[in-house]
């Protein structure tokens, strides 16, 4: 064939190329061009989620509050789990907040590519929009549930340090989003190829709830190596950081650094795998 390979082609302005995928690129420029689509997908997910439910938005509040009550009765009162001297309802609710973002974000994101298969096969847009916006929808629930948290803090007359909140609350949310996004993209991509992940993810989430310091404090582990092991789980870092922001819960900075590093690792692995497989989603979805 006399034609040159696509790599050698010079493009003029306003031109673009459709060719076999070769090198990895994040293509942020394109993502930015489609920024409104993030908004629309997120808006749709939020809007549709509680349509035709009697309680509507109340569900966003009811879910964590009921979980809080359940855990308080079992782990707080009956089993007397160590909560670093903080009233157990406050302690467990603070954990459930970020855990909610992670668990609903991850399960939405993992299913997102498959549930959008009909769109993926018909229209082109940067595919990252889909898992990303399903996580943004989960973040919306967080902000509603957060209002209840403020009420709980007032009821239990928990003293807070405003400066610490302003620094560490956004940081802990960011850490959660990065973690959720990395794992969400990873599972979303795998789910397109291997539908086994439909079953793996719910199980994994159930499992992870008990590995994370949601219902207990990491300080219950006495062995040093256990502390390090737990820190590799970025959500442990995020939850501990958010507790540190509001409550006088101790925090270890070296362990937090490990969590942050691990979050970024998952983030890059997730995006890399997603981008690599993206070109073939329409063929195999």
């Amino acid at each position: 064939m006399e034609d040159s390979s696509p790599k050698d082609i010079k493009l003029y302005a306003e031109e673009y190329l459709i060719a076999p995928p070769d090198k990895f690129s994040l293509n942020l420029k394109e993502l930015w061009a489609y920024r409104e689509l993030f908004y629309y997908f997120t808006w749709r997910d939020i809007k549709v989620k509680y349509k035709q439910t009697v309680l509507g938005f109340l569900w966003v509040i009811l879910q964590p509050v009921l979980m809080m009550l359940l855990f308080t009765v079992i782990f707080g009162n009956a089993l007397k789990v160590n909560s670093d001297g903080i009233p157990y309802p406050v302690f467990v609710y603070s954990g459930l907040l970020l855990w909610g973002v992670f668990s609903s974000g991850l399960s939405n994101a993992s299913n997102s590519m498959v549930s959008h298969a009909n769109i993926i096969k018909k229209i082109y847009f940067p595919r990252l929009v889909i898992p990303m916006s399903s996580i943004l929808a989960a973040l919306f629930d967080f902000f509603v549930a957060f209002l209840v948290y403020i009420v709980i803090l007032i009821i239990f007359q928990q003293p807070v340090d405003l400066l610490r909140i302003l620094i560490f609350l956004p940081a802990s949310i960011l850490l959660t989003v990065i973690t959720t996004f990395g794992l969400g993209c990873l599972f979303a991509a795998f789910n397109v190829k291997y539908r086994d992940f439909r079953y793996i993810v719910p199980f994994l989430l159930q499992f992870l709830l008990f590995v994370n310091p949601v219902i207990y404090s990491t300080s219950i582990f006495k062995a040093e190596w256990m502390q390090y092991l737990i820190a590799f789980n970025p959500m442990a870092g995020a939850i501990n950081m958010s507790r540190f922001a509001f409550l006088d819960s101790p925090i270890r900075w070296d362990l937090l650094a490990i969590s942050v590093a691990s979050a970024f690792l998952w983030f890059f692995i997730g995006i890399y795998v997603f981008r690599k497989m993206e070109a073939y989603f329409a063929d195999i979805a």
């Binding site: 673009y16 459709i18 076999p20 769109i119 229209i123 082109y124 847009f125 291997y194 329409a282 063929d283």
Partner: protein, 406 residues
């Protein structure tokens, strides 16, 4: 003038996993990793070295049988999937309409869906707001704008979807058979709108089975067959070429089919369909065209015996439409001893509407089945002037019948 789309030697390879699923189970991958056995894969080329240019303002039709690569070509042009080889150089914003109403959500209202669908199709919020009134007026569903889509009739949802799509305003518009849906009035409206778009200097690539629409919209047409460009030229000649040439049928061999009932004393061996030209078997027909179906057989009867044959036409989805039996029309067929030949069923003015039809064959002797095979070969029927009136029968009618209005 520089072409808006330069399509350079595009090829697309698909790998089909053994079994019906496109996706794998993890178990399969894991076992193949440990046992070293490769998962059996069939590969086939949906497109091979497709090459052509499109100049600004051109309206180009793409026609070809089902499976000829038309849709794959559109998917590559709209970046939904990538070519395996070759490249396309594009100049200008491409919008593709492979389906109307992509991303519509049943729980959202008409108004909300206009915004959502517009955004998915690549419009900015500002653009949607600007065009909102035109879209609503075009769709004719003003009264239901704040009703959830699930309460819309199919027709209303479709009109709304097309209204959004019709206001995209890209430099290059790719359209795939969106006109195959909806009633006749709606189809006319769609073609009218597309005609308007093409006259305004936009470039259109139109993939369709509807020869009339292609003829109306496109000056130049490309014929695809088995992933290759077989013809590229004026639409009239392209349609002529398509109906005559890319339509040859190597008759389906039934000799070795195992999924049959009977087949010992009597066996169907081959099926082929012909139009008026009996020298060449074909697979594509137009409604209203004469068709003859040839059934070859072998048998082991030692004396002359009468048999009954049934040739059933079945639409995909197991919908039986017609059954041609010699006994019903009072005709007798005989098998001559030691003579293997064929029977022919003549159907004047094929009354089927566009679609793909499969055959089921059954042979009876003494009211017992002596051979039966399902899904033997198929024909593709395209739009045709069945009534000779210059107006095409609607697609949703299952079959055409003769009737009179007084």
């Amino acid at each position: 003038m520089k072409p808006v789309l330069e399509i350079n030697n595009i090829s697309k390879e698909y790998r089909i996993n053994q079994g019906a699923q496109a996706y794998l189970s993890l178990r399969d991958s894991v076992t193949s990793f440990f046992t070293g056995k490769k998962i059996a894969k069939n590969q086939f080329w949906a497109l091979r070295d497709v090459q052509f240019n499109i100049l600004p303002g051109e309206s180009i039709g793409v026609i070809g049988r089902n499976g000829s690569g038309k849709s794959t070509l559109l998917k590559i042009l709209s970046k939904i999937t990538f070519p395996s080889k070759g490249y396309i150089r594009a100049r200008g914003r491409v919008a593709s309409l492979l389906e109307v109403g992509t991303g519509f959500h049943m729980e959202l209202t008409g108004r909300e869906n206009i915004f959502l669908n517009g955004a998915i199709l690549g419009l900015t919020k500002k653009e949607i707001v600007e065009r909102f009134d035109d879209i609503v007026a075009f769709s004719g569903v003003e009264a239901f704008l704040d009703t959830p889509l699930k309460h819309y009739s199919n027709g209303m949802a479709l009109r709304l979807a097309f209204a959004v799509a019709a206001h995209l305003d890209p430099e290059i518009l790719l359209i795939d058979e969106v006109l195959a849906v909806g009633d006749e009035a709606f189809q006319k409206k769609c073609i009218g709108k597309m005609d308007e778009v093409s006259k305004s200097g936009k470039t259109i690539l139109f993939v369709s089975h509807n020869m009339n629409a292609v003829q109306q919209l496109c000056k130049r047409t490309i014929v695809l067959d088995q992933g290759q460009v077989k013809f590229d030229g004026p639409t009239k000649e392209a349609i002529q070429f398509y109906l005559e040439n890319s339509n040859s049928w190597q008759s389906d061999n039934l000799q070795d089919r195992k999924d049959r009932k009977g087949g010992k004393k009597f066996k169907f061996t081959k099926i082929a369909c012909f139009g008026d030209d009996i020298s060449k078997a074909v697979r594509v027909f137009r409604s209203g065209q004469n068709i003859r179906v040839q059934l070859h057989y072998t048998h082991q009867f030692t004396e002359k015996v009468p048999i009954t044959l049934a040739l059933d036409f079945q639409k995909s989805g197991n919908q039986h439409l017609m059954s041609c039996r010699n006994a019903v029309v009072g005709q007798q067929l005989f098998l001559e001893p030691n003579k293997n030949a064929y029977f022919e069923c003549h159907i004047p003015r094929l009354p089927l509407t566009p679609g793909r039809y499969y055959f089921n064959l059954t042979a009876y002797f003494n009211e017992k089945i002596i051979d039966r095979i399902h899904d033997v070969g198929y024909i593709d029927v395209s739009f045709g002037d069945y009534y000779g009136s210059g107006t095409l029968p609607p697609r949703y009618a299952g079959v055409c019948i003769d009737y009179q209005w007084k």
